[in-house]
Amino acid sequence: MSTAAIAKSINFALSIPRPCILIVDDDKKFLLAVRDFFKSLDYDVDTVFTPEEATPLLEAHAIKPKYRMIITDDNFDKFSRTKGHQFILKNQHLLGKAKTMIVSGAEHPSPEILKQLEEANTSYIEKNDSLDASLKELTIEDKEKQAKDIESFVKDKLVDLPSAAGGPAEVKIVSSVPQHSARPFSDETLNRLKRTIIKWLRSRGELDKPVLAYGKHVYSANEMIKHIEDETEVGREHVMMLLAEFEYSQEINEDDPPRYEDDE
């Protein structure tokens, strides 16, 4: 009898601090609304009213920058003479890898300043109805980046740990934070549906060509496979579409049921 390799699973707790955001805005209502938005997505949020209050927070973490994102208003009226874009451009050395963005309802800065902001990888977003869409877009990007950072970190830690088959250990990052409202699916049903749709996607070829536009993104087959594996909202919606296709294919018409040959 041949001896099958037995896969050994290793569980360990990985402590990862919550990602942290700094919001700088003199409009308290707006400040709290944006704070609540990011808190609902599991970020820790620090809030201050002016660039002068924000600068010491950056300086306190100069050696190991704390913030993943820094969101600032541009115009602070009577509370500060320092504009948000000046605060960002002046403190580049304190920002680490933070994604910076200016959210403003005031007049656009000059093209020269916009260019400087673009070179500093700082987004400029208007305070209007499309702000929600812009913040969600940025959050999605940040979550994807976080997952890659964690995967990279863990892979480095496990580099010396071989898998049962002898090759390098496989690392998979699974979010423990539910990203969707729970729907009643048994595990087996869900897994089989996922396997079906993933198998179909893999069979398409052109796996890295973005062709599946859904919501605000265009996904390649490989990207969609990842969303389905991770059971993100997008992934689950596509699993539901597979079910809807099955329902459609049944062609059940309750209003005009067909007659069958074996009807008496």
Partner: protein, 229 residues
């Protein structure tokens, strides 16, 4: 696709130079073009077949509002009925255009300026039925909205896929302008989607992304909202 700032392409039918007035609505094909999705959807308006009424196409890559657009083409919404046909990104309360930086958005249309609300609106984008569409229900004068209440999907490939998206867009606009009532409009819309779904169902071994087209068409057919007051 060559890129310019706000430009006019394919002026399909314009019997008045610069000003529009009269009983026929003006079809305003409005397409932001600033990312992979909107570059594709804006191309669907190229060579849009005539519907027998004046039409104007605007593809824009920089922030533009509906109000600014009306001003640019010298349309007075008080004297001209406008059929706004929008293809791009949407939110419940806004149709989105390009922001001033990459990956940002601006508001092309929202309901804050009620006086210039178009008489007809096809919002071929996500979610706008939940907000903008709902506000059409409360209008007192005759008006029509067709849009979607959820995120929608599109297969962004040329060939047979683009041909069917064009057919759907054209069919939706035509139905919107020609249906005698909301019931007839709803029926026309569903018939259009059933035809498209049946095509890709029959041909799902023939076309690589036929199955994904079916998914997205089924979702659209289930979530499309037709509001006619």
């Amino acid at each position: 696709m060559t890129h310019h700032d706000t430009k006019t392409m394919n002026k399909i039918q314009s019997d008045l130079a610069g000003t529009y007035a009269g009983a026929s609505p003006l079809i305003l094909l409005s397409a932001p073009s600033h990312d992979d999705l909107t570059e594709y959807t804006s191309s669907l308006f190229e060579s849009f077949p005539s519907l027998g009424v004046p039409a104007e196409l605007r593809v824009f890559e920089r922030p533009l509002t509906y109000e600014q657009l009306l001003s640019e083409i010298s349309v007075d919404p008080e004297t001209t009925d406008v059929a706004l046909i929008f293809c791009g990104h949407g939110e419940p309360s806004a149709l989105l255009g390009p922001g001033i930086q990459k990956k940002t958005f601006s508001t092309f249309y929202d309901d804050t300026i009620i006086e210039i609300r178009p008489k007809y609106m096809l919002a071929f984008c996500c979610k706008s039925a939940a907000g903008i569409g709902r506000s059409y229900k409360h209008k007192t004068e005759v008006s029509t909205f067709v849009g979607f209440g959820v995120d929608i999907g599109i297969v962004t490939v040329s060939g047979v896929y683009a041909a069917w998206w064009r057919k759907i867009l054209y069919g939706l606009v035509s139905a919107m302008l020609n249906s005698p009532d909301g019931y007839a409009l709803e029926k026309s819309v569903q018939s259009l989607y059933q035809e498209a779904i049946a095509f890709f169902h029959r041909n799902d071994k023939k076309y690589r992304w036929a199955r994904a087209m079916k998914w997205y068409l089924i979702t659209q057919s289930k979530s499309v909202k037709v509001i006619q007051t």
